[in-house]
């Protein structure tokens, strides 16, 4: 330890701590065992006076390391905020007095608990340092947008509107994407206020296609540089200092630097050859995309059918063609907007081919959600579009247009319906790059046929061309969630990304229409700007925003085993030419999975390291084998398990007096060494609590919980070499709602210890 460190401890006696515990003894512990040079007690540490006391100790007595023993680290965060020092907190309220009964029998063990938590907090802070910027960060506020469709153009315009420069890269020779091809647009609006119910009222009609204006706006914007006929052939670096090669068809390459990236690579149409029974070979059976071209070609005149140019007098829309189906080669999802498109297109015929043109939409569940959606359904009905709940068997050729054979589910009869034109509602397939984890953990626990189904679903979805050509150790493109969509896995955090500073937007994330894509693009632009700015300050991205710490490693100790580069959930770590890890800190999310992965313990963070936790474990006072006071080490994820234990105490649940709980950033950061050290120093049991893993993982760092489980699977061997019972170490998935279960899991370990006996390793 460097000498310029000065340690100060503060013990709050409020909220009953003073009544339930011997504060004098706590202070002694802090000074004697915790080596706190200064130690104060205060009857309400979170009060103005209390906070001032801490402030003064820092300012006047030069305290650099502060240990606060009061309530949970989740409480009074605003009051106990001293960014200029290293700080640790001992949880005496939720963690001790609220978790234990107020009885004479319990008094001694409760005091033991409190003393240990003081020792642990002192040990932790002793090995912490105040994080400071590494200087690696750069501030680059230029944003790269890949894809020149509606999503990309919106992202570019919204970014520019906030005052940031943009480079917009489009593969084809023109901006506008699919939307530019549409005859008209689905109205994004609901009926205006005051419109009554009725049969002929003012409901939204298909909108004029205004994409051309948008293209013009992009081209006119001096903050936006457009690269047509171009692709991104190489992307390296990290948020704040991305470097991208933008290469034209002719092969000319320009290298530009960016703060962050938005991927708006869009979608492609589902290939109808996978559904031959729907007559895709018949010229008069067209896709909803092809129909847009027919309608546009007709101008405002009647739409003609492809086979013989006859004016269409009857048209049938077959919804969900090859969608929402588990059949071979079909899409297991659907585009979600197919029914809105069909309504819009049926209205083309009413407007251009005459009101008596027969338009029938064969749907299964009509999906016109929200306010605008339901009003558009009404609008279509007003135009006398006919909606039939029908199950389409097949589409046959009848020499005249085509015949749709379906089961009318309402009239409960089989119908052969001839029409001049049949329109298939084909799904949207995401334009993602290759998935770095093609057959990833989401297949864990799947049966073989499930795996094959899953794989085929992937194959139908995944494109081979890379979009970003990232030079990342873990693959060239954004990881995918499902069916090729590069979406976030988190409901609360739709812009959570596994490649920091790179945000997907639009139909590459989830099937969506123009309006949704524009909203989505605006959100992605927000996140990109934010990522660039935070990277410039060396501050972490979600969820540890504001964390300035970053991983560093002792080169001399590194064995180049590559575990950190392989296991990092965010693909942050590359390998340099000498095959040493390269941390790219602004890609790093500070979860510590690399630290947990490192077998030689050379990776650490300023404020979170092998020692900050390891020393806490060692600091616990270990009663001898015959004391009948076992010690159970609980390492709890700070995101879910630790709050669950807090809430358990708040709602009057008891927590075992033998437990010593250490919050960890993520179970993925747990080093095997902590486990073995704990065992060696005489702990009787270890309970690890992480978030749900597997397909529906809840781990906020994606794979941390999974990695921990894999590592700990091997801990059994280590234990048997120490010839300790393997059941002394368990890993549980704990949700934040497990306020009754979490304490029970600790209790269960207590019972295990009773069964197998105390650890012989107590010295």
């Amino acid at each position: 330890m460097a000498d310029d460190k000065k340690f100060a401890g503060f013990i709050c006696t409020g909220c009953g701590i003073g009544e339930r515990l011997d504060a004098g003894q706590l202070e002694t512990t802090a000074k004697r065992d915790g080596k706190m040079a200064i130690c104060h007690q205060h009857e309400m540490l979170c009060s103005k006076e209390g906070v001032q006391l801490i402030r003064d100790t820092i300012d006047n007595d030069g305290a650099t390391h502060v240990m606060i023993a009061a309530c949970s680290r989740r409480a009074k965060v605003e009051a106990f905020s001293f960014p200029d020092v290293a700080m640790s907190r001992a949880n005496l309220r939720e963690g001790v007095i609220w978790a234990r009964p107020d009885t004479d029998e319990a008094r001694e063990t409760t005091q033991d608990m409190a003393d240990d938590y003081i020792r642990m907090a002192c040990a932790e802070v002793k090995y912490m340092n105040k994080p400071k910027m590494s200087g690696e960060q750069a501030l680059n506020k230029t944003i790269l947008v890949v894809g020149g469709g509606v999503t990309g153009m919106t992202a570019a315009l919204e970014t520019a509107a906030a005052g940031f420069a943009v480079h917009l890269v489009e593969k084809t020779g023109a901006l506008g994407g699919w939307a530019a091809k549409w005859h008209k647009r689905i109205p994004g609006r609901a009926a205006a206020d005051g419109v009554a119910n009725g049969t002929n009222v003012d409901l939204p009609m298909p909108m004029e296609n205004d994409i051309a204006d948008m293209v013009a706006a992009v081209e006119a914007n001096e903050l936006i540089t457009v690269h047509l006929n171009s692709t991104v052939t190489k992307t390296s670096g990290a948020p704040g200092r991305f470097s991208a090669d933008i290469t034209t068809e002719s092969g000319a390459t320009a290298t530009e630097n960016f703060g962050a990236i938005v991927q708006a690579s869009g979608w492609k149409e589902f290939d109808p050859s996978a559904i031959p029974s729907l007559g895709s070979s018949n010229a008069d059976v067209v896709s909803n995309v092809e129909l847009e071209a027919l309608a546009k070609a007709a101008g405002d005149g009647p739409i003609k059918r492809p086979s013989d140019g006859k004016e269409v007098k009857s048209v049938v829309f077959v919804q969900n063609a090859g969608q929402a189906s588990t059949a071979e080669g079909h899409l297991p999802y659907h585009s979600g907007i197919g029914d809105l498109i069909a309504i819009k297109q049926a209205m083309y015929f009413k407007a251009q081919n005459g009101k008596d043109c027969d338009t029938t939409i064969l749907f299964d569940n009509l999906r016109t959600p929200g306010a605008a959606g339901e009003d558009f359904y009404r609008s279509g009905q007003q135009q006398m579009v006919i909606f039939s709940k029908g199950q389409v068997g097949d589409v046959t050729s009848s020499g005249n247009g085509a015949t749709v054979n379906f089961r009318d589910l309402i009239l409960d009869e089989d119908v052969a319906l001839q029409a001049d034109l049949v329109v298939l509602d084909l799904g949207m397939v995401p334009n993602s790059g290759p998935d770095p984890y093609a057959a990833n953990e989401s297949q864990e626990g799947m049966s073989d046929e499930e795996k094959t189904a899953d794989n085929s679903a992937r194959e139908t979805a995944v494109t081979i061309d890379s979009i970003l050509n990232l030079d990342y150790r873990q693959g060239t493109d954004l990881p995918q969630l499902k069916w090729g969509f590069t979406d976030s896995h988190f409901i609360c955090f739709p812009y959570e990304t596994r490649r920091t500073g790179i945000y997907a937007a639009g139909p590459v994330r989830r099937p969506m229409d123009i309006k949704q894509a524009q909203d989505d693009a605006t959100g992605a632009a927000m996140k990109a700007i934010q990522a660039a700015i935070n990277a410039g300050q060396g501050s972490a991205a979600h969820p540890r925003v504001g964390d300035l710490s970053y991983p560093s490693f002792r080169k001399e100790g590194c064995t180049q085993c590559k575990r950190c580069t392989v296991e990092c959930p965010f693909g942050a770590i590359n390998e340099d030419e000498k095959r040493y890890p390269q941390f790219n800190e602004s890609r790093c999310r500070r979860c510590g999975t690399c630290m947990g992965a490192c077998p030689v313990r050379v990776i650490s963070f300023e404020n979170y390291s092998i020692d900050t936790v390891g020393q806490q474990i060692k600091a616990v006072d270990m009663p001898d084998e015959f004391s009948e006071k076992p010690r159970i080490l609980v390492m709890a994820c700070e995101n879910d398990a630790y709050p669950a234990l807090d809430q358990a105490a708040m709602s009057g649940q008891e927590i075992s007096p033998w437990a010593r709980i250490v919050p960890v950033r993520c179970l993925g950061s747990v080093s095997l060494s902590w486990v073995t050290d704990a065992m060696n120093s005489g702990y009787d049991g270890i309970v690890m609590m992480g978030c749900q893993r597997g397909e529906d993982y809840q781990c906020h760092f994606v794979r941390g919980s999974t990695m921990a489980a894999e590592r700990m699977a091997k801990v059994g061997d280590t234990l048997s070499t120490l010839n300790l019972e393997p059941e002394r170490v368990v890993v549980h998935e704990v949700a934040i709602t497990d306020i009754e279960r979490a304490p029970r899991l600790i209790k269960e370990m207590e019972e295990v210890v009773e069964k197998v006996g105390m650890s012989p390793f107590k010295f």
Partner: protein, 425 residues
């Protein structure tokens, strides 16, 4: 709190539900000064009252914990609870907001120790549990409430209970003399995230929510499934009987000119999710879902298919005509299955109305000029100036879409305040 420091570069966020929190945090984490005004005594809004999310069946409080930690740690964010925006004047880049602060009767000294709650005797319906349980007159709204400060129910002011609460507090955090106050402060842009409320089920007379104990709403059912909820997570009726045969009535109030014109989007998925609750609770569960269209949008389709495949779950394409009850109080759904015309009169243990979302601000009640549609949702419109809707104030949205929308709203607001900054620079 409440002496707000703000300028024309400050962003005002109205509503502290998940959309408002998201918009506020995204802006604050981009270095903008943000003032968040929430009507309730705590953040999180409706989401804090949900047990699980579809389609992952994960827990909303998990994300709430993260968002609250983000909020606690961010110096750019000022949070004002129990406050309502009563007026917004001015124009984009130069608004003045008037905010009415309701008295909490507890100040920032509160440590959340709970002594006042123990001291007070009076009990009231617990809003957090939609009145399905009671809470004290001095209370912490829920175990994760942020700010973690108690609230004193105005109804006990002037009673001995109020004095007991004051006496019990060692930190003189109880201030019975607090009164309603009004504050004014500037803001460059406004994000309107007032969200939604469940449609009043009593208005749907044919289903007898106001007459029958065993007809409840989906939001109440959500509390019922929560281990922290009024029944400790048990799916039971008021009379204690286990509710194993449960009916879900879709479009209860939605897609209906008698109630809400719009489709509330989330109710189908919510009922599919809640079907899991029932099936997980009882091996011999029976679930019937009465629907017009099952709207499992895009990638949610497989969630629908999983439930569809359960052999103890029945889907009936029919808007239930009305609900009656038998002598034991079992609700009976009457109607016609329109797929081929079959009349039914099905007896269930419990009927759950999939009540829809309506905007929580009534059409006439916006304190600022804003363009709304027939359903009362805010439409994006140049006429709204520097006021931007976020989340369910703009349409019936699920959480994921609401947060996505709110993130975009943050950028819209930032564009305005950045223009102000450039102008002032």
């Amino acid at each position: 709190m409440t002496e707000v420091v703000a300028t024309n570069e400050t962003i005002l966020v109205v509503g502290g539900g998940i959309s408002g929190m998201t918009a506020a945090l995204e802006a604050a984490e981009t270095g903008k000064k943000v003032v968040l005004v929430e009507k309730r005594p705590y953040l999180g809004g409706r989401v804090s009252q949900l047990y699980k999310y579809f389609p992952k069946l994960c827990h909303p409080t998990c994300g709430l914990e993260i968002n609250q930690r983000r909020a606690k740690m961010n110096p750019n964010l000022t949070i004002i609870t129990m406050a309502e925006v009563t007026n917004i004047e001015g124009e984009a880049g130069a608004y003045t907001a008037t905010v009415k602060l309701a008295p909490r009767f507890v100040n920032d000294n509160c440590t959340g120790c709970g002594d006042c709650g123990k001291a007070v005797e009076a009990e009231f319906d617990d809003e957090y549990n939609y009145g399905m349980s009671k809470r004290k007159g001095a209370y912490l709204p829920h175990v994760m409430a942020h700010p973690m400060q108690y609230v004193i129910d105005p109804r006990i002011i002037g009673t001995d209970d109020a004095q007991k609460a004051k006496a019990a507090c060692k930190y003189d955090a109880v201030d019975l003399d607090m009164t309603e106050r009004e504050i004014k402060f500037p803001a460059g842009a406004v994000i309107w995230a007032t969200g939604w409320q469940p449609y009043d089920a009593a208005k749907i007379q044919p289903y007898g929510y106001d007459r029958f104990d065993n007809v409840i709403t989906n939001v109440e059912f959500e509390r019922m499934a929560d281990p922290k909820g009024p029944t400790g997570g048990k799916i039971v009726r008021k009379d204690g009987k286990e509710a194993k045969n449960v009916a879900f009535i879709q479009c209860a109030g939605s897609r209906d000119r008698n109630h809400l014109y719009h489709c509330s989007r989330i109710c189908c998925m919510a009922s599919l999710k809640q079907t899991h609750y029932v099936v997980d609770a009882y091996d011999d569960a029976q679930v019937t879902i009465y629907y017009i269209d099952i709207r499992a949008i895009d990638r949610f389709e497989d969630f629908y298919q999983t439930v569809r495949a359960m052999d103890n779950v029945k889907f009936v394409k029919s808007k239930v005509a009305n609900v009656i009850t038998d002598k034991e109080g079992n609700p009976i759904c009457r109607g016609v299955d329109t797929e081929g015309y079959h009349r039914y009169e099905n007896t269930h243990d419990l009927v759950v109305l999939a009540t829809g979302m309506e905007p929580s601000v009534a059409k006439g009640d916006f304190p600022v000029d804003i363009v709304i549609n027939r359903e009362g949702f805010i439409e994006p419109d140049a006429a709204n100036g520097g006021v931007f809707a976020a989340g369910s104030a703009s349409d019936a949205l699920d959480v994921n879409r609401a947060v996505q929308h709110a993130t975009g709203a943050a950028l819209k607001a930032i564009q305005v305040v950045n223009r102000v900054a450039r102008a002032e620079a």
